[in-house]
């Protein structure tokens, strides 16, 4: 006698699915927006700043890129209260995801900045633009255009990695799955359905962001 898969037991939880999806996407959006802003600042500091700032940014990037996200999140949620910084699970998840995405995005943006031909900067300076404006108006837009696809991939990876925030009891898509399978004892079906939702989100997000990018950055890439 074999096991019969039964997906019917999932339908009644549709509204939970939607709530979980909203939380997962919301977390990703916050991390993406904050992470990108910090990453642009970090990459600017890494390519224009003093030696001290450069070393600090490099150290940050290496530290985050060489440790697992789940450990970073545990450190933020369980460790930081020791220093007096007590965060809710949701805040801790947002902070950990932002910290993580920022490190990867700095590396990507920095590579984009390096790929902008020096002549662009020299030409802008020759027009009498201030160095700050040269960076903001000439170098940065081209740099972002160069690496936009890599940034999109990184945001999608952050969304997929956010599945572990369920471990600190954030009610994201994975947490919804944990809850449902504890009710209907259909673990495999539940996780398979949730996995399909993640796959759909990843595919849609990649398409949507790629389309936005084409609009936004039309003709900017060097």
């Amino acid at each position: 006698m074999g096991y019969e898969l039964d997906f019917g037991a999932l339908l009644q939880y549709l509204s939970l699915f939607l709530e979980g999806t909203a939380v997962t996407l919301g977390l990703t959006a916050v991390a993406a927006v904050c992470g990108m802003m910090l990453a642009v600042g970090g990459a600017a500091a890494a390519s224009e700043g003093s030696a001290g700032i450069r070393a600090f940014v490099a150290g940050y990037v290496e530290l985050i890129r060489n440790t697992p996200f789940i450990v970073q999140m545990f450190f933020v949620f369980f460790g930081l209260p020791t220093l007096g910084l007590r965060l809710s699970a949701m805040e801790a998840a947002m902070l950990a995801m932002t910290i993580n995405l920022t490190a990867y995005a700095i590396e990507i943006v920095r590579a984009g900045i390096e790929a902008v031909p020096v002549g662009q900067r020299e030409a802008a300076l020759a027009f009498g633009l201030k160095p700050r404006l040269v960076f903001a108006l000439v170098v940065l837009p081209q740099a972002l255009g160069n690496v936009y696809p890599a940034l999109v991939s990184q945001v999608v990876i952050t969304m997929l990695e956010s599945a572990v925030v369920s471990q600190i009891a954030v009610v994201d898509l994975t947490h919804v799955a944990d809850f449902i399978q504890s009710r209907n004892f259909r673990a495999f079906e539940t996780y398979l359905a949730i996995t399909a939702v993640y796959l759909a989100l990843a595919v849609l997000m990649r398409r949507l962001l790629a389309r936005c990018g084409r609009r936004l950055l039309a003709g900017r890439a060097a």
Binding site: L63, N66, G79, L80, V164, T195, V203
Partner: protein, 214 residues
Amino acid sequence: MEFTLWDLIRNLLLAARWTLLLSAIAFAGGGLGGLFLLVLRVSRSASARSAVKLYIEAFQGTPLLMQLFLVFFGLPLLGFDVSAWLAATVALSLYASAYLVEIWRGCVDAVPRGQWDASASLGMHYLTQLRLVILPQALRMAVPPTVGFLVQLVKSTALASIIGYNELTRTGQIMTNATFRPFAIYALVALIYFAMCYPLTSYARSLERRLGSA
């Protein structure tokens, strides 16, 4: 009972052995799986190629945590008795193979087309071409990104803690519950991961530089 800092470090270091072992087995399994998929991925059969593409999309487009759960809860449905250890090694091997095959395909594509034509004109069979002509040349390019992926794999083993496999991260959780010193313990856990991953990262970088200048 009091725990000294040395007690914490000693126990975490002992647990790190299991992280290393899990990484090594997942890398070996993923490498074998990746090689098998690679043979299909660069073959002339369009259906084999698109089947591998689908596999890659499925594993790179879903959270590793879900893959772990599906293996952990799915294998018992097929009649296998699954421990956390077995589920973690199987899931991580599948996951690793999906990444390695894409990395290696890039390297095979970078081997000049003429090498295929020349070896075909010598009357070589597809597998012989791969084994004697293409793969040896692709291998040189494949080492730096493969080492880079190894870093990702070591970090990924941390998720095995969630299905109850006692590696570094889970040992950290258990010790936190026993000692109430989360700050020190998670900082140490992170440092131990860093000590495992950073040498690999810089090794991959130096290999890349050497390959670039060669």
